[in-house]
Symmetry: C2
Subunit: 228 residues, 2 copies
Amino acid sequence: MSTDAVPAVVLLSGGLDSATALAIARERGFICHALSVDYGQRHLAELDAARRVARASGVREHRIMRVDLAGIGGSALTDPAVAVPVEPTSGIPVTYVPARNTLMLALALGWAEVLEARHIFIGVNVLDSSGYPDCRAEFIEAFERLAALATRAGVEGQPCHIEAPLIAMTKAEIIREGTRLGVDYGATVSCYQADSQGRACGRCDACRLRLAGFDAAGFADPTRYQRP
Amino acid sequence: MSTDAVPAVVLLSGGLDSATALAIARERGFICHALSVDYGQRHLAELDAARRVARASGVREHRIMRVDLAGIGGSALTDPAVAVPVEPTSGIPVTYVPARNTLMLALALGWAEVLEARHIFIGVNVLDSSGYPDCRAEFIEAFERLAALATRAGVEGQPCHIEAPLIAMTKAEIIREGTRLGVDYGATVSCYQADSQGRACGRCDACRLRLAGFDAAGFADPTRYQRP
């Protein structure tokens, strides 16, 4: 199927993974409508990165929707009272944001329905990830089944597909693929506690995964760090 | 199972159905945390009604979360450019808000996880409803399956149940049940285009369903109308 002029909604966090997912959606020929969600995350540098990536990637438009998840707390990423861990942890870490990907996909689904888009791209991946439940293939499949029942388009036989092109890739494979597609990883921010200039801590789980990924991919890491 | 001191999140729109769902949750013994969503709906009188119902119902707390669905448009309820129909329509009407119940359940799921609540109440019903896809039992069941995969609690064997006690009830049955439980329907607002005093138009789909429900239940309708 040619995807000429076919619209897609792409969830864009400003991190490495979603920037790569966007590049893949563009390569497949989709007209991309990027959606970022300001959910009260402590690392607002992410949203600045999302703006840079959207500008550099030729998206049709970029919207930032605000949802106050900080009001319910429960995560190191939204609650200043919970510290971001700087050592590896086992199980689901405190950086897990309750129902985050469910919420982001719900917002994307609403916008997709208005745009008559039948594809939503999300940059989740389960290998080299932090063990979040809503990054797994079974979660993505369950959301796709839900979407077919949830929407006017689904009921009318035009269900929305949830595209997770990175889901089975290692971080190194993601970085190699994005580099091939011209992603400027220097524009992205992965750190859970980047400073206001977007400089990474180099110590949190997200930084460790990113550093190990560049190392394994054999590319120089363009990330700017808070200390040399 | 005794539900003494067991918490539940109850989605509360300010309309007749969710006020009844809240009364049912209370009768079952749940400690109720009411959640209303300000999604840019044109009928803000609904949120005032939600505050009145929450106050009158002895909920533990009531939160109003803001999400800017008006930014994506696509519905007569959020987009001033789309008129609310005052005649019966066939199919899914323009008052359908894209992915609304998916989004509301996602927000409720996030809060439930923080509260360690394993029950979410939603007042959807499919009989005497407006034909929205996300009010059907198969949608609710699909969301419950998603929730079990989406959350830390679900992964740890404590999935969240989506309780839709009104799903198979007629509007008249809902009104009879709520009246038995002491719901003050005069505090609720169902109209899609209520004025700033919460007075109903008497002509839109929601008003027609409500009027017919009171008529069939054999109770006086306490709704205040814009014209006599």
